[in-house]
Symmetry: C2
Subunit: 700 residues, 2 copies
């Protein structure tokens, strides 16, 4: 499995002076020291980290008990492990005894207290640790603390070393791998962290048994559990991660750390070539589902501002640059981050960024289809990108993929997202979790995550008879992924088509979404055709969530005198019915202002329909939800079609009292031939959108 072209093996280098630190050789440390004063990414990275470590040394040693997410104790343990990690590296770079001394001091206190601490109060079904309310965080503690410890351990007196090894590291590994054996190496981001932590601790404490357990799993087969099994099962051939971009961002951290640690300690394993270079695929697919502002596409549970500046991308840019080829996107990322990883890889990447021209540091991500499932046969997530005027990229996202792992998946087959003019336009709610805000359920997921955010009606797709897809049964949903039917990711007419059959019994749903550029429009048009065939009559709710304020409609509506929830369950209980309109002809135009620009949605339904203005926030006894607006088109029948075209137009700058183009060019939409074609009527021209096998927009 080992690659014959393998670069310098850290093991051999470290042999010069005892066991190497997990992530840094003496040779590398010396090279970093030589760079530490440079006005470069690597120089700034080293100095910024050192400043943090120095501040930590000036603060008192503090090892508290456990607390809720975001609480004082939680934040202190987190600071401790991050600083042990950083101080270890800074010690190797500067050979400053105070750094080693502080690490030993703090770890001694942990070693003394750890087994005496009671288990923490849990806030979720994730088992509690002794330091944190969930062992996931304790895994992180282990990985970072062990890595930092490995930098100073060879220099510690034997007795102290033993006290630390056996006071905290061994009991922690014991807890993870035995007490919580059922949770240890499961195929899941938690399993990835657990394996990486135990493996890194094994390298740090010279416990080859821990390392092998972490790599091959508790059954030793490398297939049902353990790091190798996870790599093979959690990523699709496209590198898409089962739990979605937010958790992919999180899962690549242990993946990258552990892969790099293995490569240094066990090069024969050829981890970077493993499973068709799954580490490489997993990293590159992690930042493809991102908006031009860097935020990750919020599929499934997601904290929405999470973005490609997070740690995994910093790590990955450097590791990928050294371990694979010098991809230009890595330079772009490093420049965006303003930092690189402090090791040999970071030095090389920093040099490359500083010799590259400004042009090379620019990157427009491409349209891409990410196949889902370990074999790539469980549908796909599509991301279509097109530039509008002023070189602003519009991004359409479409999920015709697998349900993902049960825990963080949403029942949102065929959901649509749209980002334009620097803002998320057709929005996904993300998850209901006030991350690390202790007074809000200890920072954990809140009940409305299940009762609202995961429900179909919380998404930009169609709900049937007021129910959730697959009756909110994750097992059913996992067994029934969507199908991708077509994907065209280039040219002026980009489009994608997907299908879901049986998410509702006897109902087949097919959605075609397109991003169309045309000289008549300042910005690409988003086209959406949602066609449903069923074996009986149903009521269909086509929902879209937006942000901003209503500018106008071309139909009369009535606002509600009093607000009532739209329903009693399946997420409807959280939506206020703010107003409504009957549309006998099933057509209308709805226009809103979102900060700096306007959007107009021209829509048509195959039969009479009702337009409903909604707002999130009903039945929310603890104010856990954000009061965001939405709209809904409700249509009854057996086989129905919803069609819409979204035009983004105009400019508004309130501070300059400037507005132009508050009305778009489109006036109305007609469905022709059951949806084979849409006719668009404009203020001064008409257009046709062909929606068969060759999607196209042309003026007529």
């Amino acid at each position: 499995m080992a690659d014959p072209q393998q670069p310098e093996s850290p093991r051999s280098t470290s042999a010069e002076q005892g066991p190497a630190a997990v992530f840094l050789t003496q040779t590398e440390a010396k090279a970093l020291r030589a760079q530490a004063e440079a006005d470069s990414l690597i120089g700034r990275s080293i100095r910024a980290e050192r400043a943090q470590v120095d501040a930590w040394l000036r603060s008192p040693v503090s090892v508290p008990g456990s607390g809720a997410g975001g609480g004082v104790e939680h934040e202190q343990h987190k600071r401790n492990y991050l600083m042990i990690f950083a101080a270890g590296r800074q010690h190797l770079i500067w050979q400053q005894p105070e750094y080693a001394k502080r690490i030993a001091e703090v770890l001694s206190v942990y070693a003394e207290r750890y087994t005496t601490l009671p288990f923490a109060k849990p806030y979720s079904h994730n088992p509690p640790g002794r330091l944190f309310h969930q062992i996931l965080n304790e895994h992180m503690w282990l990985l970072f603390a062990a890595a930092g410890y490995s930098c100073v351990r060879p220099g510690l007196p034997e007795a102290l070393r033993q006290r630390i090894d056996e006071g905290v590291f061994a009991p922690m590994v014991e807890m993870f791998t035995r007490t919580y054996r059922h949770h240890f190496d499961i195929i899941h981001n938690h399993g990835m962290w657990a394996c990486a932590a135990v493996g890194v601790a094994g390298i740090a404490c010279e416990r080859r048994d821990w390392l092998e357990l972490a790599v091959r799993g508790q059954f030793g087969d490398s297939e049902t559990a353990g790091f190798l099994a996870q790599l093979a099962n959690l990523f699709s051939p496209s590198g898409y991660y089962e739990e979605g971009p937010y958790y992919q961002r999180f899962a690549i951290q242990p993946m990258l750390f552990f892969a790099e640690a293995i490569e240094r300690a066990w090069p024969e394993l050829g981890i970077y070539r493993h499973h068709d270079e799954v580490v490489r695929r997993g990293f590159y697919a992690a930042f493809l589902p991102s908006f031009p502002n860097g935020a990750l596409v919020p599929l499934n549970d997601a904290i929405k501002p999470m973005n490609i500046k997070s740690l995994g991308f910093v790590l990955g840019a450097s590791f990928m640059y050294r371990r694979y080829e010098a991809d230009a996107r890595l330079l772009w990322l490093a420049n965006l981050h303003g930092q690189v990883w402090p090791d040999a890889a970071g030095v090389a990447l920093s040099d490359a960024v500083h010799t590259a021209g400004a042009e090379a540091l620019h990157c427009e991500l491409p349209s891409v289809e990410l196949l889902c499932g370990p074999k790539g046969d469980k549908g796909a997530v599509g991301i279509l990108r097109a530039e509008g005027r002023h070189h602003e990229q519009a991004v359409l996202t479409f999920d015709a993929g697998s349900h993902g792992l049960a825990e963080h998946a949403h029942f949102d087959a065929l959901t649509l997202g749209y980002f334009a003019r620097g803002q998320e336009v057709l929005r996904d709610y993300g998850c209901v979790r006030w991350i690390n805000i202790e007074p809000k359920g200890g920072g954990a997921y809140l009940p409305e995550n299940v009762s609202f955010a995961k429900q179909t009606i919380a998404h930009n797709t169609v709900s049937v008879d007021g129910r959730c897809q697959h009756e909110a049964d994750a097992e059913l949903a996992v067994a029934n992924p969507s199908h991708r039917l077509a994907f065209h990711g280039s040219g002026d007419a980009q489009w994608m088509r997907g299908e879901t059959v049986g998410a509702y019994p006897g109902v087949a749903m097919r959605r075609t979404v397109a991003l169309l550029r045309h000289a008549d429009f300042e910005h690409p048009l988003l086209v959406d055709l949602f066609a449903i065939e069923a074996d009986a009559d149903h009521v269909y709710d086509y929902a879209l969530y937006y942000d901003g304020q209503v500018v106008r409609t071309d139909f009369d509506y009535a606002v509600s005198r009093n607000l009532s929830p739209l329903g009693t369950d399946a997420g409807y209980q959280h939506l206020w019915r703010v107003g409504a309109a009957n549309l006998p002809a099933g057509r209308g135009l709805f226009s809103w202002l979102q900060k700096s620009c306007y959007h107009s949605l021209s829509f048509a339904t195959s039969g009479p329909s009702e337009f409903i203005f909604t707002r999130i926030g009903a039945n929310d006894p603890k104010f856990n939800l954000r009061a965001e607006p939405g709209l809904m088109l409700r249509q009854a029948g057996r086989d129905v079609v919803f069609a819409s075209v979204l035009e983004t137009h105009g400019d508004f700058d309130e501070s300059r009292e400037f507005s132009q183009g508050a009305r778009g060019r489109l006036l109305a939409l007609e469905i022709e031939d059951g949806g084979a074609r849409l006719r668009l009527h404009g203020t001064d021209a008409d257009w046709v959108v062909e929606l068969g096998d060759n999607v196209a927009l042309r003026r007529i």
Copy 2:
């Protein structure tokens, strides 16, 4: 009246080569040309304006009919007048005949069409013009177009000059001063624009009669109407403008333009010394009521993002620098603007900015009390400023002043505003107007401006028996200003006290607000004591509006299953009752997250009270309102007290999943001695706030 120290008289300079342009002499133009390539504020200002003019010359001549605010016609006329103005100046600087040619061309079309155009469709009670839906905009057209015209008029053939003078300028002046005589020189920002426009046109077209009419008013007395009368009546001794900061920002434009034009054409008038240098006072008081982000404090009708970068401040910085002393704040403003006014003043100011050090370009505005009323005897608006950690300035605003002019005034005596950590915390709604968004009522004020925004309940003050102050009768309100009782604008305990008697019959309200710094708190505390004495029992609603999401309360509450409006009139009909709690002890803590930090309001009422969660947006048939949250404390009785302390604390960065300090240090508040003192209970200490004649915070 003339100042013997009067600097260079433009009139004498221009005598060399015929009549001078209104705002620029040949000598100045030559000096500007010499600066045009410089990498300086003045150089960049000249080049930026020239680029705009060049773009205008490349576009076709277009003189449409009239349209709504923000409509195509509106924007075209606006562009035309701004470009005529700029092209005139650029012509003098570059002596390029194309500029003069284009101005003459466009004005010829106006001259040909103007009197043939019908009056526009009005959207407000402001009379319509022929170009714009309200003559206010036509005044602006006249001022800018006449000033631009004056740069090229001396060089035009006599016949053409006459055609333009008589085709458009004379009929416009005729319309303003005769057709709309009742509206012409009234004491109001519209009157200011009308006078300035007619006066500038008089200078440009060599019609001394227009100039004198504009300066002295239609009765010729300089006291009841006209520019001089307006200067004397619209500004208080502190320079506070009757209509509030948003309109002050607007009114200083014609004030500064016309003052500068008069100084150049009629220096003997000594306009800059007039009425104790009212021009100077009016300018400086215009940016004092601003938040650290530059936004103007939203008292009365206000478009909230309007800020100190707007045109009047650019003009003013340059004019003040030349006509009065070299105040350091002018350098700060010019640097903030990134531009200066292109004339001799701008050259001097630009030089000063570039020779000043970085320190000199920084400015922390001071705490200030702005007296209201022409004589300063109609109460005051107070602005208290104090720094928190990280040098972030907190700003408390308190309105214990006059009602202002009827048209744009709100019934909000004793209203409180608060800005901290870069955000407006206790918020004012501003006005209900989608400025220049044509589909929204032609960009004009909307019905909810009267039914909600002006009502007392829309403000951070107390409403009595669900009614509006002064029964929403502007005449009553104007006759009954608030009183300022105390103001202390320096030190660690800054505070202010004001009183309103009779805003409700038989009710006297006294409010003491303070901004207190103390080493125990990372950020200043805001303290608010609202004491009411009445001759009968009433129901009192103490309202506050905030932004963000509820984190926690220390009391139980129930959210409403269905939402109903809080009332039927006086603004209550626009508030949803979202939830409520009965507080028999009249005490509680309410905490919320606003983007990057937390706020906790500890409050106490003198008797049992009800806490009500509100949200704006009920009875809003056209979605004209923003759905913002608020809270209300309701207390019944005769003499009552509301007390509250707002603690700003912690940090939150969702993209980094980082939170600290989500709970503040304060736990509860007690009113002692009827409000002479507040006792604050904290997590680890207690404090006392003395609220008598020496406000102070101390730990006990």
